[in-house]
Amino acid sequence: MIETCFEAGLLDSTRAFALAALIGVFFGFFLEAAGFGSSRRLSGIFYFRDMAVIKVIFTALITAMLGLAYLEAFGWVRTEGLHLLPTVYGAQVVGGLVFGVGFVLGGWCPGTAAAGCVSGKLDALVFLAGALAGSMLFNETYETVAPLLSTGDRGVRFVYDSLGVPKSIFIFAFTTVAVLSFWTAEYLERRVAGRGRYLFSPFLTIFSLCLLLVAWAFSLALPPTAGTEASLLAAIEEGEDHIEPEELADRLLAGEAELFLADLRPADEYRLFRIRGAENIELQRLPAILAPWKNRGTIVLYSNGMTHPAQARDALSRIGYRNVHILTDGLGGFIARCLKPASLREEPVSPGTAAKISAWRSYFLAR
């Protein structure tokens, strides 16, 4: 298992800066080598004249995707170690559309403009100046567009979960789409610009077959749901799926913003008493309501006992949730262990614990 800078919280360390600079050198080198230091070549994709963008970027994406899938399956890296951007439909749809217009108008995107700039392209320099101004403009317009940043916020979400297909099946299908797009790109180049030199070439044929084989082998290496089930069972064995009442009480008392507490009991019981801060949610509405919290922060489920929360936790795990916990001993346990006055307890209570109990009581029993 590799521990990444992100996982260690060291993304702002000197080591990470040096690594990032080195990675940047390779990134810039291959961008330029691919011909992305030319705005004419980059724009070619929008007129079906030069499809290099599709070929290079889709190949890079599929290579990294397959590499990561295998490394994860072999346990070299885990999802928790990766910085995953949340899905926010409002920001990403509007941002994507405007970015696309900027891309075709300017003939550059930020990374390629940097590579173009150092190969002597003055229009890349102008584009970069524009991008600086655009960033400042965003800062000025931030208040106005801020609502978009929370419109359709779904938290960290994987596309195979969104589509409801197993990961390995999606990977194979996506690789197939990539291979088809390479052949289409070569065909279009031959039709529109009289090029497409890799069409029916032994190179592209072998490359395509290799990609498909690697993607197909992944589905054999990893049966569709085995990964999820195995990690769920491991989490249960380690007790990672539980949260103790005392810990929950402390975190609620501290006002932790990234904590979502769901009460799964019937609504009338919820109205009578609930843990302060809890929301009452019917079981079948759980996935819809929890979506913004998926793999972001901590989700805690509770009921009177532990059976319903545990079953709900398993169901959520199968649709990709990795941050759901159940309250040990349920609401009954919470009351007995946190809210029962120290004076009524049979076991001796240390002064420190007694002070905690009284703080919890005044917070959770406040009317």
């Binding site: 749809v93 970015f99 590579a115």
Partner: protein, 174 residues
């Protein structure tokens, strides 16, 4: 006499090989940093830095740049962007592709191309902040991670690009 063993001046790498190498670079970034590639983040940090030189109080009070604190350049993507400049130069010089010019079609005026490049930069710079990433940080990185939002971003980039392709086409007319 021409030396035949030297690569043709300006010849690009096989796009699929270049793609594999970029993919391996991205994978290396995932394994060491735990984060993918990015370019617009570094540009935005530079913008905050520059604006700070002019009016630090205004930047500190602003909602977006203000959150980056007094030293906005202390961020890994700034260093990555620096690396991109260096690596790009390395490739351009070794392949003897460096040439100082404004790339445009012969029928396109200099002012039109400059205006268009600047306007494109403004839109891309603004939009990459809204979407928290550009073609590198969202489309390529998020795409390889199979994140739903990044896939949606990628589709929208092409939708926006193809929709506006007609008005930008004149720049490349010869």
């Amino acid at each position: 006499m021409e030396r035949t063993q030297r690569p043709r001046r300006g010849a690009y790498m096989n796009p699929y090989v270049a793609g594999i190498m970029l993919g391996v670079t991205l994978l290396g970034s995932f394994l060491t940093l735990g984060a993918g590639l990015g370019a617009s983040g570094g540009i935005a940090r530079a913008a905050a830095y520059l604006e700070r030189l002019a009016d630090p109080a205004r930047v500190e009070a602003s909602a977006y740049f203000g959150a980056w604190g007094p030293r906005p350049l202390r961020y890994y993507l700034v260093f990555m962007l620096g690396g991109v400049f260096l690596g790009g130069a390395l490739s351009a010089f070794t392949a003897r592709r460096f040439s100082l010019r404004l790339e445009r079609g012969r029928a396109c005026s200099v002012s039109r191309r400059v205006l268009s490049a600047f306007a494109g930069g403004v839109l891309a710079g603004w939009a990459s902040r809204l979407a928290s990433g550009c073609t590198s940080g969202q489309a390529l990185t998020g795409g390889a991670l199979l994140l739903t939002g990044s896939m949606v971003f990628m589709v929208c980039v092409f939708a926006g690009g193809y929709a506006a392709a007609r008005i930008a086409r004149g720049q490349w007319d010869d």
